[in-house]
């Protein structure tokens, strides 16, 4: 081969010094060799650049681990840089690399993958850049801004109350505990709480009255709407229940005949309930209309839900009656001494639309357009006893129940009742006469649930 090349050269140029021929051969070979290496580099580079590398986004404070395949024919030498001080580290494998750790910083980080081909170590390192997005931890982004001074209808950011009803003749009596807290989404914008509640117990005749209301987030004065609704509705019930012998007599009659489905007795109690809590709700609707008129604005600016319950223990058991407009939940819950055999009854139907946040409000005229519309929002029943009567706004019912079918599932209510008492950070001790329960319940309302940051209000008769 060598002789053949020398022969060709001699044919062209005659006798040539040996060293000149050697120089020529070395120059030529290195020139073509370099070209050859460059061609390989280009091939490798195209392979790397066309490799689809997708790195899923990470989140601060959330453990992250992902294996990214990096299997390029002809490349075994490569490094990955660019994650210093991010809390993440890269571990190189033969045909992939693993990014893992718990991110400490948010942002878009540019990862640099440096590689060169195996054929010649002479080649320069080439670089491919890939972005890794680290989201902030949403929990640390929430701001707790105070409500500006001097707003119309100021309202405290939280409210808690305990109605202690002491034992009578040695028999313990049920108490009411309630708590309401401004949601993170409101606190983040320095907006006031829109929820409200009101509790009452008549020490003379032992009637309990509970109202819970959720002002619509989109309505300007809904915080006042919810306040007026609770105040007006409860006041009406309180007054009506001062002298209610006839009503109680009807309830007693109803108890005797309650197994006959369409009894006269049921009708009488139905009429009483209509006059009592149906009218209470209507008065609340009217009171909001009046306030809106005084202010010269539309009453829908005061849009609010209303959940109202009255209850009393009779010799034969508990009588409970309710009115419910809007979302949230009213549930009568019973379990045995061991926390087993759960039974739950939803006292009404939540008003929910096809899309989240759609509901009906006390301020809507159609709620009271005729007696049938109002009747279907009323419920009453007699039970031997119960464990807890819950009234809550959707700020609580949404995160824990999500759907209608869960709201009608006794086991979900069993789990919920357990959760309140056994929460590892904020357990609520629902023992008789424990007045601390109101602060414990406020603490419990701080639970975390992604996407559920509305105002939260719950009242429990237990």
């Amino acid at each position: 081969m060598m002789e053949k090349i020398i022969e060709i050269i001699k044919k062209i140029s005659g006798e040539v010094p040996q060293n000149l021929i050697e120089n020529f051969l070395s120059d030529t070979v290195s020139k073509f060799w370099k070209q050859y290496v460059m061609d390989i580099e280009t091939v490798i580079k195209n392979r790397v650049e066309s490799l689809k590398i997708t790195i899923p986004n990470a989140m601060v404070n959330k453990e992250y681990k992902i294996e990214i395949p990096f299997d390029i024919e002809g490349v075994s030498e490569y490094s990955v840089e660019g994650l210093d001080d991010t809390g993440l580290a890269v571990e190189k494998q033969e045909k992939s690399f693993i990014i893992s750790g718990t991110p400490t910083k948010s942002g878009t980080f540019s990862l640099s993958i440096k590689y060169r081909h195996d054929v010649s170590k002479l080649g320069e390192y080439l670089e491919r850049k890939v972005d890794l997005i680290v989201n902030p931890d949403p929990r640390t982004l929430w701001k707790d801004l105070p409500v500006p001074d001097g707003i119309e209808y100021p309202k405290k950011n939280q409210q808690a109350e305990y109605v202690k009803v002491t034992a009578l003749d040695g028999t313990p009596r049920k108490d009411i505990v309630a708590a309401s807290k401004r949601g993170r989404s409101h606190a983040n914008e320095g907006k006031p709480r829109d929820d409200d509640f009101r509790l009452y117990h008549n020490d003379e005749n032992d009637w309990y009255v509970i109202a819970v209301a959720d002002g619509a987030g989109s309505a300007k004065y809904s915080r006042e709407g919810s306040r007026i609704a609770c105040e007006t509705a409860v006041n009406h019930c309180v007054n009506e229940l001062k002298n209610c012998e006839k009503f109680e007599e009807n309830i007693t009659q109803y108890n005797l005949f309650k197994d006959e489905s369409e009894s006269e007795a049921r009708k009488y109690v139905g009429d009483d309930i209509y006059k009592l809590i149906g009218v209470a709700a209507f008065k609340a609707h009217k009171a909001i209309d009046n306030e809106a008129e005084k202010k010269g604005v539309a009453s829908k600016l005061y849009a609010t839900t209303l959940l109202l319950a009255i209850a009393k223990k009779f010799d034969f058991g508990w009588f409970v009656a309710t009115f419910w407009v809007g979302d949230g939940a009213i549930c009568l819950y019973t379990e045995d001494k061991n926390g087993e055999n759960p039974q739950s009854v939803l006292l009404g139907v939540p008003d929910e639309g096809e899309y989240a946040g759609q509901t009906r409000f006390l301020t809507m005229p159609e709620i009271f357009k005729d007696s049938t519309s109002l009747y279907k929002r009323l419920r009453f029943r007699i039970v031997n006893d119960f464990t807890a009567l819950f009234l809550m706004t959707d700020g609580v019912s949404d995160p824990w129940f999500e759907t209608d079918s869960n709201l009608n599932n006794s086991e979900k209510w069993q789990a919920f009742y357990k959760e309140i008492q056994d929460n590892k950070d904020h357990p609520v001790n629902l023992e008789d006469d424990n007045e601390n329960a109101k602060d414990e319940l406020l603490g419990w309302l701080d639970f975390w649930s992604p996407g559920n940051h509305d105002d939260r209000t719950i009242a429990i008769l237990y």
Binding site: P56, P136, R139, S218, E352, A356, Q358, D394, G451
Partner: protein, 212 residues
């Protein structure tokens, strides 16, 4: 699972958008995503889908939670028609496929938002006319249509929605302001509303003109 707020963004990528306009749109989109990522509520709830349209229509980003989102490349051909009608048709198909309606067993999404950005008029005018009632049968909290640049026509967009805005120029400052305004709407999107109430749009910046 969390209640999602679906946000559909339709972007005109016809030939006339090539160059500075589309680069400005990309910057605006990136800014919007960066802004929303700093909002804890958005990070929990917002999902974004991007559909581009020229002579062909592509959903370049299927409905994706903000936390998982990576903006895809947006390419524009040298020239070609603006098939807005076909884009709206795909939008309706994706809506039917992706948006979760509440039922007894399932938690519903927030009502979606729709933004349409175009610099011309629909080339597929018949398709466009036919699809409008179909779009309207899909519930959106708001549909905002934006006519970008001096050549953009607003009369067709008016048939789609009452909320039509126009941009006088197509530079990055203008698009940045437009997307800032979009971000504000997205941030207020997940709020409790009545069954019938419409949500008022926030005050637009000076660069964004409301078309009456």
């Amino acid at each position: 699972m969390t209640r999602r707020l679906p946000v559909y963004i339709l972007i005109d990528t016809s030939g006339s958008m090539k160059g500075e306009p589309i680069e400005a749109v990309k910057v605006g989109l990136a800014d919007m995503v960066a802004t929303l990522r700093q909002d804890p509520y958005a990070l929990d709830t917002v999902c974004i889908s991007i559909i581009t349209f020229n002579n062909e229509v592509k959903q370049i980003l299927p409905l994706t939670p903000l936390a998982d989102l990576q903006l895809p490349e947006i390419n524009t051909p040298e020239s070609g028609p603006t098939n807005t009608g076909a884009a709206l048709k795909m939008l309706c198909e994706m809506y039917d496929k992706e948006v979760i309606r509440g039922s007894k067993e399932k938690k519903g999404d927030w009502m979606p938002l729709l933004f349409v950005l175009t610099d011309g008029k629909p080339s597929d005018i018949m398709d466009y006319k036919n699809i409008i009632p179909v779009v309207k049968s899909h519930a959106f909290t708001n549909i905002v249509a934006c006519a970008a640049g001096p050549k953009a026509k607003t009369e067709h967009l008016k048939q789609l929605t009452d909320n039509v805005v126009s941009l006088d120029t197509m530079d990055s400052q203008t698009f940045r302001k437009f997307f800032e305004w979009v971000s504000m709407q997205v941030q207020t999107g997940g709020k409790s509303v009545g069954t019938t109430d419409e949500v008022a749009l926030p005050e637009p910046p000076a660069e964004v003109n409301i078309v009456i």
